[in-house]
């Protein structure tokens, strides 16, 4: 087992799925290009079609199970919210229903559908990014195009710290409660509880940062020499570059056609 583990770092990180093997930046390029279509074609049918395309992409990447849960959770909250707010409140000429401040108009409903479906596309892009791109792969490919390694560190360490601090929050909250700080009651009591929970968390993290600075400097973190990588990705093959270029050109063509016609 040990040998296969070590050997797995001797070659580029690859999975069985062709879509997952596409360079992370190229993936983002394709997703965003698809998303841009929505801005130039103001039809909700187009937006729904693109959303379905994202679902198909998730299936093609073999990540459907990871994709559909968060996507539905986000989409079913944000889409209807955007729709309802506009449908109920947007002022317009063709009144359908009016009661007090609620005034449902045809314009409001059209606008609501339009924006709700655009938000579905946005949710699709973001969820697809999170399920098909690993953060460390993204930072690796950013470094390949010249982003300094400090930035990679900041991104990866932010993601890790969010998880760490979340765990710590629970501990601090419990311990402050055991010391008699009330976390339930009226609004003012609860506001008072906020600082005793957050400040130990923050101050602890800051003093930890100082120690980390010294530890990392001892490991030549601030050295100006080129870095080595434990995990690395393959350079994008020619076919992939052609595919991305083709998708971009196709979408650009579609947009130009849509604008001209």
């Amino acid at each position: 087992m040990d040998e296969t583990f070590i050997n797995s770092y001797r070659s580029p990180q690859l999975s069985d799925n062709w879509l997952l093997n596409v360079n992370p930046l190229n993936k983002i390029n394709i997703y965003v290009a698809l998303g841009l279509i929505t801005i130039f074609f103001q039809h909700w049918q187009v937006n729904v079609a693109i959303t379905f395309l994202f679902v198909l992409l998730a299936i093609a990447a073999g990540r459907f199970k990871n994709f559909i849960g968060p996507f539905l959770k986000l989409g079913l909250v944000i889409g209807p919210f955007f729709f309802i707010v506009r449908a109920i409140f947007w002022p317009g000429e063709n009144l359908i229903f009016n009661y007090g401040i609620i005034n449902i108009t045809q314009e409001g409903i059209d606008l609501g559908i339009q924006y709700a479906t655009i938000m579905l596309v946005v949710c699709g892009i973001l969820v697809l990014c999170t399920v098909t791109i690993k953060a460390e792969d993204l930072t690796y490919s950013l470094e390949q195009i010249g982003v300094p390694h400090n930035v990679s560190f900041m991104i990866l360490s932010s993601l890790q710290l969010i998880i760490d601090l979340k765990d710590k929050t629970k501990v601090i909250m419990d311990s402050q409660r055991s010391r008699g700080i009330e976390t339930e009651g009226n609004v003012f009591v609860r506001i008072k509880a906020f600082v005793p929970v957050l400040s130990p968390l923050f101050l602890g993290a800051i003093s930890g940062a100082e120690e980390k600075t010294i530890a990392m400097d001892a490991r030549a973190f601030s050295s100006a020499n080129p870095n080595t990588h434990l995990r690395f990705l393959r350079p994008a093959p020619g076919m992939e570059k052609i595919l991305v270029l083709a998708v971009d050109l196709l979408i650009l063509g579609l947009i130009i056609m849509g604008v001209v016609l």
Partner: protein, 195 residues
Amino acid sequence: MKNRNTGLLIFLIPIGVAVNFVGGQIAVLLKLPLFLDTIGTFTIGAIAGPFAGVIVGLLTCLSISITNPQSLFYVINFMLMGFLAGYLGKKGFFTSIKKTLGAGAIMGMIVGISGSLISYFLFNGFGVSGTGVLGGILMGAGVPVWASAFISNMSVDIIDKVPTAMVAYLIIRNIPQKTLVKLPNGNVFLNAYKK
């Protein structure tokens, strides 16, 4: 060695991002009627300068938008907050309670203006959270679209940013001096505490 201080900054920025995230969650856990999800941006901006603040804002926006996609459109707002916190911090705005309240109000106002501009041009004046409902109620009551976008965003931002600035102040107050001394804006606070 190039600079030990930039090293510390690189470690502080992720803390700012994580605290933004966790602060928002604590506010939800305590069922507070505020967002309080920019405490990290305020604090790190104030002690480490505008540049660090902007980066904290940017990274926060990117990581929040995974669970909250609509905030992606407000990325300029997140960065503006970091910049303002850094600028006002340099001017000594976070050194006393009165000044901090002022800083919170100023930031709430400026961020409210930019937020309502974004809401107005991208989302027809509806904010993307509770502000959207508030703006909608105003619109339903016959207030023009631009005015309701303005009122709803401004009021919510000021109500949220003043307590956020206060919390940031209380945290900065408790940062040990040996840490402050290594930070770009640290001398501002150290000089103020000496008096």
